[in-house]
């Protein structure tokens, strides 16, 4: 418990004290509350079983699995190009971002690399899916705390991004656009100009949300000092993405690993926050949308000419080997451990999804909080159910 700010320490001590008090005063009869699997606050079917003492949570345990689709098993009976159609549906709000690490892993095994233009476009689409994903989070944040307006603004402006994704890939939600060795197609005419405009709109959206939601005292009092996760705990649980950076860990896979993506050609800031509370997690995500729009702007300016597909055999057989590739997806670190035996399809794919780890910390962090805080903490941890259950 070193390196904690004073606020973190206070919150931690308070949680411990609540815990101890509950253990002593258990004469009152508690109540077990099921939140979900069908409940307005769980976007999907996550079920939280909470043992309550009044409005305070004695312990809470999430119960996942209502949407388990067995993708790890299904990948074993599909060819490499077919797998992208499946993994599109893991984190359905940022679908394109799911495809990239898998394709990169396959490319790593085949020892090929996509041409620079394809890498650029991949990065652009990757960041667009981040914007599409996280902007919805920013709107949804309000709904979780009773403010209905932000979510409509989020849907309004996210629509522009989805249109862009649709324009480039043909699919709004599940593009299935990434191919081993490059991309299916080049960008359509006029797409870049439109993207520039949309990025401006999205920056305005961020400003609006910051004014409307983040500047609100009630929002701050609902999130500041709530659900504090210290850095060492966050790392132990494998929290990733904004959740990890909100605990003060300066770790971003876009910057800290070298993959054949165009992140080394752009200038962006990785934001961290020392507090580790719900506020920090939300704030980091807001900044990340802003950074993503800047990344997209820079990449549009430096988009190199050339082909978008390298020469690959028509029937793709991936050589024997094992590869791990993970990227900084909207939800956090999304990685695939791909084992190939030289066949048409992978021998085994271990899907490491961000939300699975991010949500596994909930029993720890929900101890001693109040019922309304369950919702805000879950909202700030930000999960997509498909990303937990896979």
């Amino acid at each position: 418990m070193t390196m904690l700010s004073e606020r973190q320490q206070m919150s931690y001590i308070a949680a411990q004290a609540a815990d101890a008090r509950l253990n002593v005063e258990l004469e009152t009869e508690g109540m077990t509350l099921n939140i979900g699997p069908q409940h307005p606050a769980t976007h999907g079917t996550l079920r939280i079983i909470a043992r309550l003492d009044g409005e305070q949570v004695v312990w809470a345990e999430p119960s996942a699995g209502y949407m388990h689709r067995g993708y790890e098993k299904l990948t074993e009976v599909r060819t490499f190009p077919q797998v992208t159609a499946l993994i599109n549906r893991i984190d359905w709000l940022g679908s394109f971002a799911n495809e990239v690490p898998f394709i990169l892993a396959a490319e790593q095994l085949m020892n090929i690399e996509a041409p620079p233009r394809a890498q650029h476009i991949r990065t652009i689409l990757f960041e667009l899916s981040r914007i599409a994903n996280v902007s919805l989070f920013l709107g949804d944040l309000g709904v979780q705390m009773g403010a209905v307006t932000p979510v409509f603004m989020a849907f309004r402006d996210r629509e522009y991004v989805l249109n862009l994704i649709e324009g480039a890939t043909g699919g709004r939600f599940h593009p299935n656009f990434d191919r081993i060795g490059g991309l299916k197609d080049d960008l359509p005419k006029g797409w870049l100009d439109e993207t520039r405009q949309v990025m401006k709109k999205l920056r305005n959206f961020c400003d609006e949300i910051e004014d409307l939601l983040f500047g609100n005292e009630i929002f701050q009092s609902r999130t500041r000092g709530i659900g504090v996760i210290p850095a060492d705990v966050a790392r132990q649980y494998g929290l990733s993405g904004a959740n990890l950076r909100a605990s003060g860990v300066d770790w971003d896979l876009r910057r800290d690993q070298s993959l054949p993506l165009a992140y080394d050609k752009v200038d962006f800031r990785v934001w961290t926050h020392p507090d580790g509370d719900s506020w920090a997690r939300c704030w980091i995500r807001l900044q990340e949308v802003r950074e993503a729009t800047k990344i997209v702007d820079q990449l549009i300016e430096t988009l190199p000419p050339g082909p978008v597909m390298t020469k690959v055999p028509r029937i793709i057989k991936v050589p024997e080997g094992e590869a791990w590739v993970s990227t900084e997806n909207p939800l956090g670190e999304m990685g695939y451990y791909v084992v190939s035996k030289g066949d048409l399809g992978p021998f085994r794919v271990k899907i490491r999804s961000a939300s699975f780890n991010n949500i596994s910390i909930t029993p720890w962090v929900l101890k001693g909080v109040y019922v309304p805080d369950i919702i805000t903490i879950l909202a700030s941890l930000y999960f997509i159910l498909g990303d937990i259950d896979r």
Binding site: A64, G65, H68, G70, K73, L74, E76, V77, R78, T79, P81, Q82, Q108, L109, N111, E113, D232, V233, R235, Q236, Y237, G238, L239, L244, V249, D250, W251, D256, Q257, S258, L259, P260, K311, V312, P313, R314, I315, K317, P319, E320, G321, E322, A323, W324, S326, G335, Y337, V339, K341, D343, L344, G345, R348, K350, R352, F356, N357, S360, W364, D389
Partner: protein, 224 residues
Amino acid sequence: MAQLSDTDTDESTPVVDELRDEIVARLRADLGDAVVDVHQVPQVDLWVRVTPESWRAAGEALRAQGFDYFCFLSAMDWMPSPFGDGENDPTEEVEEDPAASEIRQGYTGGDTRFQMLARVTDTRRHVSVTLKADLPQHDDGAMSIESWIPVYAGANWHERETHEMFGISFDGHPDLRNMYLPGDFEGYPLRKDFPLLARLVKPWPGIVDVEPMPASDDDEGDDS
């Protein structure tokens, strides 16, 4: 990005990777003979196989080195699927190929059908290690290994998932309930001998895609 190589070539590649070499050296110093095998793709990734007895000790040693970010924990079933790979029409008779059912472990080798697989990261040095361990089966087919929860609290759910999917029990895990499947579910879905029924009863329409195309100008590569 460094060019990749499939072969186990620490010597033949000119790329040196002092960071990963040092990690391996420290691990060997900590664990001694428990480090069975090491596979390294310089500048890219590192695989280490340890003995099953030292599974937790290896985790602790890595944690002490600074690998405090827990990435994932899972297992591997190296037995080739007795039901084929889904690329053939299941209604057709397939001639038995003894080589096809031979168990071949991947990087860092191994002796058992099942292997543990875990990955941890050092967020300060920006390096990760994939850890493996053999999983010897007892006479009744059961397998067990020490739980990693004392080392990485986040291993809790991953071990539950692995238990559910592979039937591996973790000594010291407080609560190995099923995460996804009903409590009375029989079988371990991610084992290769667990049939994917939907695929067995009906040929997958996607099979059409993998049939060899008529001759084309493209280089067919390593396709045979």
